[in-house]
């Protein structure tokens, strides 16, 4: 196999874990190999325990759905999990029977399959996953669709997810990311196995596929991971449609069977590979802790209850990104809270903040960034994201340095550029009438 090795560290002897610990505040060094078909295989080795994690990014996500197939991304991923392996068990059961797990998360432009297992089991599970992605078992279509219809129904009862969907509906009009993440029940009812086949074909492009590995891995394990995806065509996925630009202020109201109103304020924001990304992370810290894009993603390992959403959430996986601030009417005076948030944004846009305040926010943003990587799975996700970035795996450490360099002038500039017209999504109890914002 011919490979272009960009950076290979300590790959010499069997287990690579003898790599030195990184300096405090630095991410561990990573190896990166680009296969001839464009698949990027990247790995961070640790010898902390004999377990490992993988995140496989394939280049088809929510944005690639059409109005007629809203929900196909989730159904396809679910079928992959249900596809039998050589043992006859489903992929998910195969992993579970070894004490490991396989999950999926669907982001705006990618689907991620996550594996965590004993390091010795990882190559076998990765191989099984690659086969299931290449040939999902369509006999599982009905079961998978029923599962996703149920999830879509549950999402409809979750006021935070409803509010988030309403913000996306406005901000991503014209793309598949504008629909509810689990899809629409009507579209799901019309979905066919052929739709799944077409969507699964979007997964299989060498360019845009990332295999990110972390844990107690050997050179052979890493090579084996690459080999599992080496046969994919050396093509690139078609780009997702760009959302229709809408600069107007929007307000949408929906009613649901809930006890207290919910509200989400949505703003434009830079995507994760924008030069303005670090500044927006500092702004997010200034506005109050919520979460990052992973907290908003959809999949088997992330179904947070509504009450867990509070504060500013930054969807930076999408292009363009979105900043969403959630308010739960059951936990206080919503009107006052919304006004305070809007006044805060006016202040951000109005003039440079005191340097001391921005310095504190930088610390918070840096802390949030570092603390988002504590598990093998976190590390694999971060590594895969970095490998997708224009900076490559150097992105991890470069982003920390960029956050640390954000100035009050940057904050004002970015706030003025992005935090203009807001989208207001209000979810009211069915029995309530007008908007809580008078």
């Amino acid at each position: 196999m011919t490979k272009r090795t960009i950076l290979a560290l300590a790959l010499a002897i069997g287990l690579l874990g003898a790599a030195p610990a990184p300096a405090p505040g630095q991410f561990p060094a990573a190896s990166v190999t680009t296969l001839p078909n464009g698949v990027i295989v990247t790995a961070q080795i640790s010898d902390d325990a004999p377990i490992a994690s993988a995140q496989i990014f394939v280049p088809a996500g929510l944005a690639q759905q059409t109005p007629q197939t809203a929900g196909v991304a989730a159904v396809t991923a679910s079928i992959v999990m249900r596809t039998p392996t050589d043992s006859g068990m489903s992929l998910a059961d195969e992993a579970a029977s070894a004490g490991g797990s396989i999950d999926y998360e669907i982001d705006p432009e990618t689907t991620r399959f996550e594996i965590e297992s004993r390091a010795a089991d990882l190559p076998r599970l990765l191989n099984a996953l690659a086969h299931a992605i290449a040939k999902p078992d369509l006999t599982r279509f009905a079961l998978a669709r029923t599962e996703i219809v149920n999830v879509a129904g549950d999402d409809e009862k979750n006021p935070a997810r409803v509010a988030y969907a309403m913000v996306r509906q406005v901000r991503y009009r014209g793309t598949g990311f504008a629909y509810p993440q689990a899809g629409r029940v009507t579209a799901l009812a019309r979905l066919t196995p052929a739709d799944v086949t077409r969507f699964a074909a979007l997964y299989q492009h060498g360019k845009g596929t990332i295999v990110a590995l972390t844990g107690a891995l050997t050179t052979a394990d890493i090579d084996s991971a690459g080999a599992a995806f080496a046969a994919w065509p050396a093509s690139a996925a078609p780009p997702a449609a760009a959302p229709a630009l809408d600069t107007r202020q929007s307000q949408i109201i929906a009613h649901r069977d809930i006890t207290a109103p919910w509200l989400a304020l949505g703003f434009a924001a830079p995507s994760q590979f924008s030069q303005d990304f670090p500044t927006m992370l500092v702004i997010e810290a200034l506005l109050g802790r919520g979460g990052g894009a992973r907290a908003l993603s959809f999949g088997t390992s992330n179904q947070a209850p509504a009450d867990d959403f509070a504060g500013a959430y930054y969807q930076y996986d999408a292009n363009p990104g979105t900043l969403v601030i959630f308010f739960n009417g059951g936990s206080g005076d919503m009107e006052t809270a919304v006004r305070q948030a809007e006044q805060g944004i006016i202040r951000l846009r109005g003039q440079p903040l005191p340097a001391e305040l921005v310095a504190r926010a930088r610390k918070l943003a840096l802390g949030e960034y570092y603390l988002s990587v504590t598990s093998l799975s976190d590390a694999a996700w971060m590594l895969g994201r970095s490998a997708r970035s224009p900076d490559g795996v150097a992105f991890e450490n470069a982003l920390a340095a960029r956050i640390a360099a954000v100035t009050p002038a940057d904050v004002q500039r970015v706030a003025k550029h992005y935090l203009g017209n807001e989208t207001i999504a209000i979810v009211l109890p069915t029995s309530t009438s007008p908007s809580p914002l008078r």
Binding site: A21, G25, D48, I51, A98, G99, R118, A216, G367, E368
Partner: protein
């Protein structure tokens, strides 16, 4: 295994001795064996430094072995109020909570019946400065008036959440019935009445008895930590040695066979609770951990699956808790549509095959591999690894912690796992899960708008 953080930390506490029957006699206490990376300073303070290379964070924790309800007349909530007061009190105008936040870290306070944990998770680059602050504030605790008032407010909020959580009320109920007194008999949160009666002097008196080097371990886990430098740092901060006060024991109660109503909460629910072996009986404790994984792990546990199959809307949880004197195995089901009696029967029926005969070699081989992998996966982050050391220190045996291992699974815990057999599992199951469990029930609370002031 150990208590989960937060809500589950709601559990219990108090005193008397071993009415344990002969079949559950403790193994003889062994001389203390230090874990790799563990050291005991001259004043009695214990320190563990452990490398974890993949995360750019570090976990710093101080665990204090102490009764949650105090040493003499039970004062439920005292240890929690004290810890919250310590982290809220200001030195040079800054509290520990503020200092951690300003450095981009997170501070967590967890209180268990027989130990308190004050933990920091922070970017690795902030560790040195935060370690100095954490050690100064916790090893030399000060609680001022303002910190005490803030602690009361926070504890009142936590009580509200705990009192509404069916899972927490059930676990408190299980412990409250398994033990008739001592720190394991009462909730670590206490009641609003308990909170109202606690004073600043109570907390200050408690720190003088509890926060002494013999009771304390400092755990540091992260990449690039220098064991010698951390040891020196801890040594500089260590307090003057003071003799530790004996922990009140919790007396095992007599189990009645009928269901015991233990309160009201947001949901209905039922729990089963059994006594388990002491932590000194490592062979049986490890067997109970295996049983816990096999029966109660979400998704794969036999009982968890039986409950889900019966009612997908019900919520199941359960685990074996390794404790110094008497372990506890419990399972809870909350929500759902079945009656408490029906759910209790579903749980009992799912356990029964393990009591009837040893597992087949094939099933056991598969289950033990799953158990090993689950245990490794559950102790992978700096915080999980540090928690693990702290918990097992509090149970008297740090070197038995699952965290104490290597790539080839060396260490006491995995040696115990390797020695497990279907017969050992069967014996442990029959001895402990074959006895009559406490059955606790909780009823849905009737919503009422009343509030209770907790401030003096």
């Amino acid at each position: 295994m150990q208590f989960p953080r937060g809500a589950a930390a709601a559990l219990i506490a108090l005193a008397l001795a071993g009415s344990a029957d002969a079949s559950r006699a403790s193994a003889p206490s062994a001389a203390r064996v230090l874990a790799p990376g563990e050291s005991v300073l001259q004043d009695g303070l214990t320190l563990v430094v452990r490398r974890a290379t993949l995360s750019p964070t570090a976990a710093l924790q101080v665990w204090i072995v102490c009764p949650s309800s105090g040493y003499s007349t039970p004062k439920p909530g005292l240890a929690r109020l004290t810890a919250l007061g310590i982290v809220a009190s200001k030195v040079n105008g800054v509290s520990l909570r503020e200092a951690v936040r300003a450095a981009g870290g997170e501070l967590m306070v967890s209180v268990f019946p027989s130990s308190t944990e004050i933990a920091v998770l922070a970017p690795a680059g902030e560790v040195d400065a935060l370690a100095d602050t954490l050690l100064a504030r916790v090893l030399h605790p000060v609680i001022d008036e303002a910190g005490f008032r803030e602690a009361k407010l926070r504890l009142a909020e936590q009580q509200q959440i705990a009192l509404n959580s069916a899972d927490v009320v059930l676990r408190d109920g299980i412990f409250g019935n398994l033990f008739v007194d001592g720190p394991f008999h009462v909730s670590t949160y206490g009641t609003p009445n308990d909170l109202r009666s606690l004073t600043l002097v109570d907390t200050q008196g408690f720190t003088a008895l509890a926060y002494v080097p013999d009771n304390e371990i400092v755990v540091a886990v992260g990449g690039g930590l220098d064991e010698a430098a951390m040891s020196e740092r801890v040594g500089r901060a260590a307090p003057i040695p003071v003799s530790a006060t004996t922990m009140p024991r919790s007396t095992e109660g007599k189990i009645s066979s009928g269901p015991v109503p233990v309160g009201n909460a947001d949901d209905a629910g039922v729990a089963l609770g059994w006594f388990g072996p002491p932590a000194t009986d490592k062979r049986t404790s490890t067997a109970m951990d295996f049983l816990s994984d096999y029966l109660t792990r979400p998704d794969s546990g036999v009982v968890a699956r039986a409950v889900k199959a019966s009612d997908p809307t019900a919520t199941f949880s359960g685990q074996f808790i390794t404790l110094r004197d008497t372990g506890v195995f419990y399972m809870t089901v909350t929500g759902g549509t079945h009656t408490s009696a029906a759910m209790a029967e579903i749980m009992r029926a799912a356990v029964k095959p393990l009591l009837d005969a040893p597992m087949s070699r094939r099933d056991f081989a598969r289950a033990i591999e799953m158990f090993r992998t689950h245990t490794l996966r559950d102790a992978q982050t700096p915080q999980q690894l540090a928690d693990n050391y702290g918990w097992y220190f509090a149970q008297g045996n740090t070197s038995y912690a699952p965290s104490v291992t290597s790539l080839d699974l060396r260490g006491d815990y995995y040696a115990q796992v390797a020695a497990l057999t279907p017969r050992a599992i069967y014996d442990a199951a029959r001895t402990y899960l074959g006895s009559t469990p406490v059955t606790a029930t909780v009823a849905p609370r009737v919503q009422s708008p009343t509030t209770t002031s907790f401030l003096p």
